[in-house]
Structures are given as C-alpha cells and as structure tokens.
Symmetry: C2
Subunit: 300 residues, 2 copies
C-alpha cells in the first residue's frame, strides 16, 4: 500500500466518547477497551482527559488508566489536557502527545468552557511550553471550527487568530472539530483549505460528529483535499447531551469500512474493532450509533 | 437559483419505505402522508406499488391511495409496476410515470424476485410497451447495481446488458440502486460514470440505502459527477428486514438538509418534510433513522 493511501485514525472513544456517559465505567473495563483498541492495529489513541475529576467524574481515573494499559510500539497514546493542574498529572503518564482546545466562538467558550478565548489560549501556551520541554507532541484543537450552536457561522479571522496562536506555541498538529455536526462536504473543503493556507507546514486533522448524518460525507470531502488524519470513536460512542438522538462522533468502524472499501490503508483490523463495539454495547447495555456491527461488512 | 443547482428528490417513503412495515397503515393515513409530502414542494413522489396484494398486503390499497390523494400541478405521481396484472390496475390511476426493476444479479433475482433476469426483462418490455402507448413516462431500475449480497461485485457486462435492454424499451430514466448499501463514494462514481457512457442520452437517478452510514457520502459523490436526481424516504423509513438495525433508504430530510446547506435547490420546504417525519413517528410509534427531526437544522 502506497504512502499516498495511508490514513491515520485517532480513536477518541474512551475520551470524547466516554466523557458524557453518566454511569461510571470501571477503570478495569476502560483499560480492557483501550487494550482491545490497541490490538486492532490502530496507530493513535486519545485515551483519556486530565480534566477536573469534579467536573468529569467519568474520567477521574485518567492516571490509573494510562498507567495500566498495555502499550504497543508504534501506537501513540495521547490525552486531553485542559490546564496546568491536568498537565502535572499528565506528565506522570508518559504520553506521546497531549492536546488542548479552544472554541473559535467566544460565546461557546464562555458558556461551555467557562473561560474566554484569550484565557483558553493563555492556558494552552503554558501547557505547550511544558510539553515541548518534555518532548511531548502537541495537538491544538479548534472546537466549533465549522459552526457554533450559539453564534452560527465563525468569522474567518476568529479561526485565523486561533490557528496562528497554535502555530506560535509549537503545535505540530491542528485539529478542526465540527463539534455539533453543522458542516457539510463543501463547507469542510472550504474552511479546511483556508486554514491550511494559513499554516501550510503543520499537519491538519479533522474531527466530525454525525449529528445530521453527514459525518462520512465530510470525511470523504476531507480525503478529497488530501487530509490524512481523522478522529473517530468506537461504536460512534459519544452522543450529544443537548439532542436526545443526535449521534456523537463518527464511528470508527463505519469510517474504517468506508476507507478500506475505497482502498485506503488504516492499518486497522476491522473485525477487531467490531469486537470492541460489541463489548461496549454489552458494557453499556445499549445499542450504539455505529452501523457496521449490525449491518456487517459488504460481502464482495 | 440557477438550473445548474437544481436537484430533484424522488420521495419513495410510501412505497419502498412502507412495503416492509408489517402492521397495516390505514389507507386514510397513507393518503394524508402523501398529501403532506405533496405540500412540501417536492416534485416527484413514488406513491405506491401495484404488486400482488397477497405478497405485499401493506400496499394492497394502491389504487385507493392513488385515487384519493390531492394532486398538485407540477408534481409527478409515480408507482412501481412489476407485471402486467399490476399494469392493468395502474392504468386506471392516471400515473405520470411507472417504474419497473430487475436485479443485475441472477441470484438476487431468483432468490428475492422469484424470476430470472430474462423473465424480469421480458415482463418489463410488455409493461413498457403499454406505458408508451398511454404516454406514461418510464423509469427502469437496476436493483443491486452496486453490489449483491449473494454474488458480491456485479460484472460490468451484466449491468451493461440491463441498461441496453432498458434503452431499447424506451425508458427515459434509469435508476441505479444500492439496494443493500454496499457501495462507497468512489465506487458510486466509477459505476455510474461507466453506465452513463453506455446511455449518455438518458437521465440517471441514484437510489441509496444508508445500511453502513454511507448514504449521504454516496449522494455527494453522485452530485460531484453531475447526477441531478436522487431517491429518498421520509424519516429514512424502510429498514432492511435482514439486519435488525441497518437503516433503509437515505432519509429525505437529511438529504435535503445536506443539499440546501451546499446551495442546491430542491424546491422542498424542509420544515414541512420534518412535520411528515414527526407524523410518521407518531403513526408507527417508533423513532425513525432520519436525524434532522431530532438534531434540528444547523443554526447559522
């Protein structure tokens, strides 16, 4: 398989997916899930988040999870780090990459992240400095990059400002997130290409939610403009707490199926990912939005 | 809105969608649903099917439905007609267009349609002749055009044979159907373009099922090669009897939302379609796969 066709999937199920699960999933189960994901051949896993255990009790065991997973060479283990307190905990966990985020929308920051954009960027700078000193890679995520549920369309210069701040603090990857699934394929192409023009030397990743059924169409649009890194979540775990049935992250298995069917190489064994989804459905006692577990792979 | 951006949606919910519903939906409700769809501004509705009432009791009221809907100028009312007995009933209903189908796979024909491909084509020829005499437009549908659950990949010459037969019998539209949702965007482009090369003067329509979450990605791929007509079903009504959760037809509301968001004109009032979905969910006492009713339109 040529390098041209190599696509990297960043599994975010145990972080973005689990963080809204109300019932605590045991640390042992989380470790088992991460290990199963590792064994699928995936090359990047955002394992957890070092957020305040008070705000997100589900991820209060971030350190125990990080310390007990079975790591495999060639797999990057990553975590979200929102502030300096989190960074102190993260530093004890031998992470390959940390990520932080800011919303391109001031209202979204204030309402959902309880801080202004400038405050978020200031925190990120402090974290970035420490990460670089410790030779940890850095991803800067732009939340609501493709639209905000409060402000709607995001002005170009708001996005540009975040991208430039991220560049300055040494991010080697910028992730554009369609947090509430407002985007569409043409919009994905437009925004992503414009952002890439601002930062042509940094790697861009795309993070889609399937809120309106457009997740895989948006991945396809990203592929067409040469994006090589996509976030997804096993089973489509995630969901949106604001909309009862709105599905969350695009599902890893459906995304990998599309990519494989089109001849892209993700290094992932789809059967092994489907087994994770099956285990997750049993663990959570409900059906997840991902469709491949139930529909099966196309039989050619 | 320029003609370039005009896309025609063929609503198939009361035909393809309803045919697998086990509990009989009253004729009165079916008429109400078709009338609500008409009032959305949609321009084509495949209302029902003149199949054997014994085989598909749900659609045994095809004639009563056709006779009692409130037709609107500018809307084409269509129906599926599988054989001469059906055609006799259809002729009494003042249809704008009839459609018939054959699977490109011999096994699918034999197992699911209880006839060989040649027998199906022979029947279609007889129906086509009558339709032309009665100045009724004809759509020829190619079932499993993008892959068969029994045979897998469909040889090019099997597809070519069906297309040429359809051309010869005077179809003014050919619909390629991904009946079990096996296709992907690149595959859609490849097959559709090859078929269009065989029949460059006929209009092509695409019919997708969202079995593996790829429905809208496939629509997007179709759009990129200039396809202007897509089938969809209100709420994504349909489902596949062989896979418990596998969703059926792509949903009209999610498709129209994607198209509108990208600047295409479908002539459809999305709020009115969403009201149909809401009514359908109440009528069927269950949530349908379409996501827009629950997620809402993106707020720009």
């Amino acid at each position: 398989m040529s390098k041209k066709n190599k696509i990297t999937i960043v599994e975010v199920g145990t972080r973005d997916g689990m963080q809204i699960e109300k019932k605590f999933i045991s640390t042992k189960k989380k470790i088992k899930i991460v290990d199963m994901i590792t064994n699928s051949g995936i090359q990047r896993i955002e394992v957890t988040s070092f957020v305040s255990p008070k705000h997100v009790p589900q991820l209060s065991d971030a350190k125990q999870v990080m310390e007990n997973i079975n790591r495999k060479d060639g797999v990057e283990y990553e975590a979200l780090v929102p502030n300096l307190i989190g960074m102190e905990r993260a530093l004890e966990c031998d992470l390959d990459r940390i990520s932080f985020f800011v919303s391109s929308s001031e209202t979204f920051n204030n309402k959902n992240l309880r801080a202004s954009r400038s405050e978020m960027i200031k925190k990120s700078k402090e974290i970035a400095k420490i990460a670089i000193e410790n030779k940890i890679k850095i991803r800067g995520s732009v939340v609501t990059a493709f639209g905000c549920p409060y402000e709607g369309s995001i002005p170009f210069d708001s996005l540009e400002w975040v991208i430039k701040e991220y560049l300055e603090m040494g991010c080697d990857e910028i992730c554009l997130a369609d947090t509430v699934g407002m985007s569409n394929p043409e919009h994905v192409k437009d925004i992503t290409e414009r952002m890439r023009n601002i930062a042509p030397d940094v790697q861009f990743a795309l993070h889609f939610h399937n809120t309106r059924g457009l997740g895989l169409a948006n991945v396809y649009a990203g592929l067409k403009i040469g994006i090589k890194t996509f976030d997804s979540s096993v089973g489509g775990l995630g969901g949106c707490p604001f909309a009862p049935k709105a599905t969350g992250n695009i599902s890893t298995e459906d995304t990998v199926n599309m990519l494989q069917e089109m001849g892209y190489n993700t290094n992932i064994n789809l059967e092994k990912i489907i087994r994770v989804v099956s285990y997750l459905e049993k663990t959570l006692s409900r059906q997840l939005p991902g469709q491949l577990l139930h529909a099966g792979k196309p039989k050619w």
